[in-house]
C-alpha cells in the first residue's frame, strides 16, 4: 500500500497515485497528499493504475478530496482504473461527480 503524489511544474495540477488496496488504512496518507500543499492546485488527477481494490471508505475519501477541491466546481480526473475498480465507481454513480477514464 502506498500513496504518492506530485505537483506539475506550473503548480496547477496534483497527481495522486495509489498503489495496492485503497481502503481505510490509506486515509491519512491520502489526506496528507492534498492538505499539506503550499498552494492549492486547480486540477487533480487520481491515478489508479496500480490500485488493486477499492472499498466504500475509499469512496468516502474521494468525496473528501472533491469537497476540499471545491465541491461542484472541483476538477478531478480518476484515471487508469482496472475493470474491478471501475465497476465499483460506476455502481456508486461516481462518474456524475468525477471524470473517470
Amino acid at each position: 500500500m502506498g500513496i504518492q503524489s506530485h505537483v506539475s511544474d506550473d503548480g496547477k495540477e496534483l497527481v495522486i497515485s495509489i498503489q495496492g488496496r485503497f481502503d481505510f488504512s490509506a486515509h491519512q496518507d491520502f489526506r496528507n497528499s492534498y492538505e499539506t500543499l503550499d498552494s492549492q492546485p486547480t486540477r487533480y488527477k487520481v491515478d489508479m493504475n496500480e490500485t488493486t481494490y477499492l472499498d466504500s471508505s475509499a469512496l468516502g475519501m474521494l468525496l473528501l478530496l472533491r469537497d476540499h477541491a471545491g465541491g461542484n466546481s472541483a476538477e478531478i480526473e480518476i484515471v487508469n482504473c482496472s475493470p474491478d475498480v471501475k465497476k465499483i465507481l460506476t455502481i456508486s454513480n461516481f462518474e456524475q461527480l468525477f471524470t473517470i477514464e
Partner: protein, 569 residues
C-alpha cells in the same frame, strides 16, 4: 606438408618386378605403408585383407587384369571411396577410357614421374577424406532424423493421450487436421461443458516442429480440465493465455479462436485472437457473416492487459460456424499463387446444399493446390443442433460437475486477538472460489465480504458511528478511534456463516455475518436512501447491486446476503 599427414596404406599391383620396385620406393619415401602384389587376383585378395586407402593397379596383368580387379575392388568397397589409379604403358585413347570405365579414378603413364605420382596420391587422399567426412555427416543426419521421428511419435502419443478425451467425433462437428498437425503448430480441442454446451478451440502456434508443438500440451490439458469442471470460457481463456505467456519464449504465441456453443439457447459466444475471419453460414439464406479477430493471440499479453470480451451470435438449428488456420488461405498452387480469401468466399457463394460446404472447401483447396495434399490445412465446421442431439464425447459429466465444492456450508467466528492481526477476507475468498462457478465473481464477492466485515467490526464490535464521517475532521477521527478501540478491545465477535447450494445450472450462496454488537435501527437507516449524508453510507447500496438480496435480521446485528450465479456466465 606430407610429413605431417597421416601415413596411408597403399596397395600396388604390378606383374613387372622392376616397375613394382620403383613404385614401392617412391611411395615409401613419402612415408606411406606399401602392400605389394603381382596380379589382379592377388590385388583383390589383398584389398579384402588389408583395406588399403589407395590402390595402384597395372592395367595388364596375368590371371586377372587391372580392369577386372578394379571392378571387383569397387564392388567390395561399396560406399567407401577407394581411389584406384591405373598404371599403364598404353596411351591410346580407347585404353585410357577403359581404365576409367572399369572404375578407375585416374591413370598414370609409364615411365613414372615421381612428382606427379606424389601429387596424385595427395589429391586422391584429399578426395577420400572429404568423402569419408560427407559419409559421416550423412550418417549423423540420418540418425538425427531417426531420433527426431521417434521423438515426434512419442510426443504425438502424449499429446493424443491428453487430447483424446474430446468430443470431436460429435455428430455436429466436421474437421480436417493432419495427423501430425501438432508439429505444424495446429491444434483443435473440443469438449462438452457440464451445462451441455460445446466448447471448441482452434489454435495455430507460430513456428514448426517441437517448438510449435510444445505449447499445445498445456493448452489442451488446461482446456479439458477446466471445461469439464464447468469453468467459464473467460476463465479458460485467461488461464490458457497466462500459462502460454509464462512458458513460451517471446515471439512464440498462439493465434486462436474459441467458441462456446449453447444448444439450448441457440447462441454462440466467440473470441478470435489472430486467426483469419471465422465464417458464420446461415442455412436459411446462404448468407455469410465474417467474425473478425479483435484480439491479440494467446500468450502475448500478461493477465492484467489481456482482453477477454467475446462476441455473441444467435444461431438457428442448421446454421454453421467455420474456423480455420491461415493454412487454407495461404495454400499455393504450382504457379505459386495463394488460394486467398476470395476463392473461399466463392465456395460459399456457389454452394446450394449447406451440408456440403465443408467438402466443397476441402475439394476446392486440393484442386487449387494441383491435387497435392497439403499438411498445413486445419479446418473445423460446427453445426448448431437441437439440445440433446449431440452424441459425441463422454456423456457422463455428473461426477465432474461436483468435482469442485458444490454443496457445503461453514461457520467462522473471529475474536479480538484475531481482529487486530488477521485479515480474514483472503481466506474466505479462497474458500468461495473453490466453487468453479463463483470464481468469475471473485471481485464482487470480495467487495461484499469486505463491506460486511468492516460494518460488523466497526459499527457492531467497536461501536463506531457513521455520524462521525459527516465532516472531513470526523472522517479522520473515525479511523483514529477505530485503531484505538481495536488496540484495547477485550471482547466481541464477528461470525461468518456461508452456505452454498446447487440451483439449476448454477448455484446460490447465502452469506450471514453476525456481530456481537447491539445492532441498529435498520428500518429507518439503511433502508432509507435519503439518509445518505457526508462521506459514509455507500457500502450497503454497493452490495445491493452486486447480489440477489440483502436483509438485516433481528436487532440489526445480523445481515444476510444471497448471491446467485448462473452456469452460463
Amino acid at each position: 606438408m606430407s610429413q605431417q599427414a597421416k601415413p596411408l596404406k597403399i596397395l600396388i599391383a604390378d606383374d613387372t618386378e622392376t616397375d613394382r620396385r620403383i613404385l614401392e620406393a617412391i611411395v615409401r619415401r613419402e612415408g606411406h605403408e606399401v602392400i605389394s602384389v603381382c596380379d589382379g587376383q592377388e590385388a583383390v585378395t589383398a584389398y579384402e585383407r588389408e583395406q588399403p586407402d589407395i590402390v595402384l593397379l597395372d592395367a595388364l596383368m596375368p590371371r586377372l587384369d587391372g580392369f577386372g580387379a578394379a571392378r571387383q575392388i569397387k564392388e567390395l568397397a561399396g560406399e567407401e571411396l577407394v581411389p584406384i589409379i591405373f598404371l599403364t604403358s598404353l596411351s591410346d585413347t580407347e585404353s585410357l577410357v577403359r581404365c576409367l570405365e572399369a572404375g578407375g579414378d585416374d591413370f598414370l603413364s609409364k615411365p613414372y614421374n615421381r612428382v606427379i605420382l606424389q601429387a596424385k596420391i595427395k589429391a586422391f587422399n584429399r578426395m577420400r577424406e572429404m568423402h569419408q567426412e560427407v559419409q559421416i555427416q550423412r550418417d549423423q543426419i540420418a540418425s538425427h532424423n531417426d531420433h527426431l521421428m521417434q521423438e515426434q511419435t512419442v510426443a504425438k502419443q502424449v499429446f493424443d493421450n491428453i487430447a483424446h478425451t474430446g468430443c470431436l467425433d460429435a455428430s455436429n462437428v466436421k474437421y480436417l487436421l493432419s495427423p501430425l498437425a501438432v508439429f505444424n503448430g495446429d491444434v483443435i480441442v473440443a469438449a462438452i461443458r457440464p451445462s451441455g454446451s460445446m466448447m471448441v478451440l482452434l489454435g495455430d502456434f507460430t513456428g514448426h516442429g517441437l517448438p510449435a508443438a510444445i505449447g499445445a500440451m498445456p493448452l489442451a490439458s488446461s482446456f479439458y480440465g477446466m471445461v469439464q469442471k464447468g469453468f467459464s470460457m473467460v476463465d479458460i481463456l485467461r488461464e490458457v493465455n497466462q500459462k502460454l505467456k509464462q512458458i513460451l519464449p517471446i515471439g512464440v504465441f498462439c493465434c486462436a479462436s474459441i467458441v462456446d456453443m449453447n444448444f439450448s439457447k441457440g447462441k454462440i459466444r466467440i473470441w478470435n485472437g489472430g486467426l483469419p475471419d471465422c465464417y458464420l453460414h446461415r442455412s436459411g439464406t446462404g448468407e455469410v457473416e465474417p467474425i473478425r479477430s479483435t484480439h491479440l493471440p494467446l500468450g502475448v499479453l500478461d493477465d492484467s492487459s489481456f482482453k477477454d470480451d467475446c462476441l455473441h451470435f444467435e444461431m438457428e438449428v442448421g446454421d454453421r460456424l467455420y474456423m480455420w488456420s491461415d493454412g487454407i488461405i495461404e495454400t499455393r498452387n504450382p504457379k505459386g499463387e495463394m488460394y486467398g480469401e476470395e476463392r473461399l468466399q466463392q465456395v460459399f457463394a456457389g454452394n446450394k446444399v449447406p451440408g456440403q460446404v465443408f467438402d466443397d472447401i476441402v475439394n476446392s483447396v486440393h484442386e487449387f493446390a494441383g491435387g497435392e495434399r497439403d499438411d498445413d490445412l486445419s479446418l473445423i465446421e460446427l453445426t448448431m443442433a437441437e439440445p440433446g442431439q449431440i452424441d459425441g464425447g463422454p456423456r457422463d459429466y455428473s461426477p465432474q460437475r461436483h468435482s469442485g465444492m458444490m454443496e457445503w456450508s461453514m461457520d467462522l467466528e473471529l475474536q479480538p486477538s484475531t481482529f487486530r492481526l488477521f485479515d480474514p477476507l483472503p481466506l474466505l475468498l479462497n474458500i468461495l472460489v473453490e466453487v468453479p462457478g463463483l470464481r468469475t465473481h471473485s471481485g464482487s464477492l470480495y467487495t461484499i465480504l469486505a463491506e460486511l466485515y468492516s460494518n460488523a467490526l466497526e459499527h457492531g464490535v467497536l461501536g463506531l458511528s457513521s455520524e462521525l464521517k459527516h465532516t472531513p475532521e470526523g472522517f479522520a477521527e473515525y479511523y483514529q478511534q477505530r485503531q484505538q478501540r481495536l488496540d484495547t478491545l477485550e471482547e466481541g465477535t464477528v461470525a461468518f456463516s456461508m452456505d452454498h447450494r446447487v440451483l439449476g445450472d448454477g448455484g446460490e450462496l447465502i452469506l450471514k455475518v453476525t456481530d456481537s454488537g447491539t445492532g441498529f435501527d435498520h428500518q429507518n437507516n439503511i433502508d432509507n436512501p435519503h439518509k445518505r449524508v457526508g462521506y459514509s453510507g455507500r457500502g450497503i447500496p454497493l452490495i445491493r447491486t452486486l447480489c440477489h438480496s440483502l436483509r438485516y435480521i433481528g436487532t440489526g446485528n445480523q445481515v444476510e446476503v444471497v448471491f446467485r450465479w448462473d452456469g452460463d456466465d
